[in-house]
């Protein structure tokens, strides 16, 4: 791999569903070992972008290049061996309901390694210990709280010690303390294992806590990609609105109400 080649490169990605354009020419470069946080309002296309990055969704145009290879040009076998180096934690956890928490973490190990089951169990214990869930090893996902499920999903995503880690809404729906704990975990993980992290979120606090760079998505494209301090200083009206938590003018009820009566 070339030293200055980005780990993940997104080129002119377009995707639409039934006439509605979700991604409208997205370009992005993520360096090796970098934490890129993708911000955006609900429905701005950030989850779709994440699904394209891991090859779950095929874009209409454009491509995703990981370490110099176009992932949509790979055959299914090559893609699945690339995916062994990736981990993804889904928004709702997506833990397998028919398996225990430990079983969930052992599954990728059983599929992709030759570790005996006793060793797999130890790895599962270590990974769950990392997120403070070693006591829940033999519980079923349905017996866990939402926050515990997210942490378990995180442990599963790191089961094969991935080089690329994708995280969909790590702190959505969590209390601030659990969310802060997950943020710290992400930072620790990056510092100790030098993973390339892509996190999709709409939580500003956690975004600024973990990001090396932030990318703000609006109407299917990035309007700014920069370091947290530069984003915080930005004067772009849409960026400001997002940072200052101001509703868009179109949703300003009082103004429309006045307009309705004065016109």
């Amino acid at each position: 791999m070339n030293a200055d080649e980005p780990a993940i490169e997104v080129r002119a990605l377009r995707k639409s569903y039934g006439g509605r354009t979700v991604l409208n020419g997205v370009d992005l470069e993520v360096q090796q070992g970098e934490t890129m946080v993708i911000l955006g309002a609900s429905g701005s296309g950030k989850s779709t972008l994440l699904r394209c990055l891991i090859g779950l969704e095929r874009p209409d145009e454009g491509t995703v290049i990981i370490e110099g290879t176009d992932i949509f040009a790979l055959d299914s076998h090559a893609l699945s061996s690339l995916r062994r180096r990736m981990g993804m934690a889904f928004q709702g956890g997506a833990l397998f309901g028919s398996m225990t928490v430990a079983g969930n973490i052992e599954l990728p190990l059983a599929e992709h390694t030759r570790l005996p089951s006793s060793t797999r169990r130890i790895v599962a214990r270590i990974k769950l210990g990392m997120v403070g869930l070693e006591d829940a090893m033999d519980q079923l996902p349905s017996e866990l709280s939402g926050g515990m499920r997210k942490r378990a999903a995180f442990a599963r995503a790191t089961a094969l010690d991935p080089e690329f880690l994708f995280f969909d809404e790590p702190s959505a729906g969590l209390d601030p303390i659990t969310a802060a704990g997950l943020d710290r975990l992400l930072v620790q993980l990056k510092e100790s294992f030098n993973v390339t992290l892509v996190v999709v979120t709409h939580e500003m606090v956690s975004a600024f806590a973990i990001a090396d760079r932030l990318a703000l998505m609006h109407n299917g494209r990035f309007i700014v990609i920069d370091s947290p301090s530069a984003v915080r200083e930005s004067q772009d009206p849409i960026v400001r609105r997002f940072l200052d938590r101001r509703p868009p003018e179109s949703l300003d009820g009082a103004a429309r109400f006045r307009k309705f009566f004065t016109d």
């Binding site: 891991i54 995916r83 993804m88 997506a94 309901g97």
Partner: protein, 265 residues
């Protein structure tokens, strides 16, 4: 008025064609996964197939037994009603044996299993799809077709013929119960007549049917589950659709197989 009717008929036809094509694609993918797996040493995930076979067989066994026994009784009574007029009550054994093994046992068993296990497959896979578990498998580099679909199909193709044989036996026992208890035909005579009437081909015809039905139940159940999009309410819709479509297709397939064996003699 007419144009709306035509348009909705057209849309329904289009949906049917699209669905048929994607069920076919699923079948082809599943078959190719079996071949690819065979080259790597394991055509079908053995453990998962055993687990699914137990699930498919266990729940349906008592129900198949009961219903086959009752249908055996009904068939014996109905045929005695006509054959008695001709003074040919002995032939009840032949009629029951042939109609049960060639037609009723495979059909009833398939419908019961479609209701019990086909619906369970659809509900399970639909839930996994909706909660992104299928995506999670894909991202882990585990192919959902060979991990989920192939074991269920294989389990059905093993279990359904076994259940059909069980149904054959209990249906004939039901006929026997009527013959000895109500019609006054001796047990030995009934059994002898049954064995005279049945040839191996009758039983094999039934088993060929049941393998085809197994494929239908598994493919439709998996397809309905995997194509689910949206939220939890879609899971219920997928489950219902899986059962209804399986039953319709089972009866259509039954017609084709029966016609095929009839023409070939």
């Amino acid at each position: 008025m007419l144009s709306t009717a035509l348009r909705s008929a057209g849309r329904a036809t289009q949906n049917l064609l699209v669905d048929t094509a994607s069920v076919w694609r699923l079948a082809v993918t599943a078959a190719s996964r079996v071949f690819q797996g065979a080259f790597r040493g394991e055509a079908v995930r053995f453990r998962a197939t055993i687990i699914q076979s137990v699930r498919a067989g266990n729940g349906s066994l008592p129900l198949v037994g009961l219903i086959s026994f009752l249908v055996g009784i009904i068939m014996a009574l109905q045929s005695a009603y006509q054959l008695g007029k001709l003074g040919a009550l002995d032939l009840v054994a032949n009629l029951v044996a042939i109609s049960i093994t060639r037609e009723l046992a495979p059909l009833l068993t398939a419908i019961i299993v479609a209701g019990r296990f086909g619906s369970a497959i659809a509900a399970e896979l639909a839930t996994m799809k909706v909660s992104q578990e299928i995506d999670a498998l894909t991202v882990m580099g585990i192919d959902p077709i060979s991990f989920l679909v192939v074991p269920r199909l294989a389990a059905l193709m093993v279990t359904l013929p076994c259940l059909t044989i069980f149904s054959d036996v209990l249906g004939i026992v039901g006929g026997l119960a009527v013959a000895t208890g109500v019609l006054g035909i001796g047990m030995n005579g009934y059994i002898a007549n049954t064995f005279d009437a049945l040839v191996l081909k009758d039983i094999l015809t039934g088993l060929v049917k049941s393998v085809a039905f197994a494929g239908i139940i598994g493919l439709i159940g998996c397809h309905q589950g995997l194509q689910t999009r949206g939220g939890a309410e879609e899971v219920g819709r997928a489950t219902t659709a899986a059962v209804v479509r399986s039953i319709v297709l089972i009866i259509c397939a039954d017609l084709f197989v029966t016609a095929f064996f009839y023409v070939r003699g």
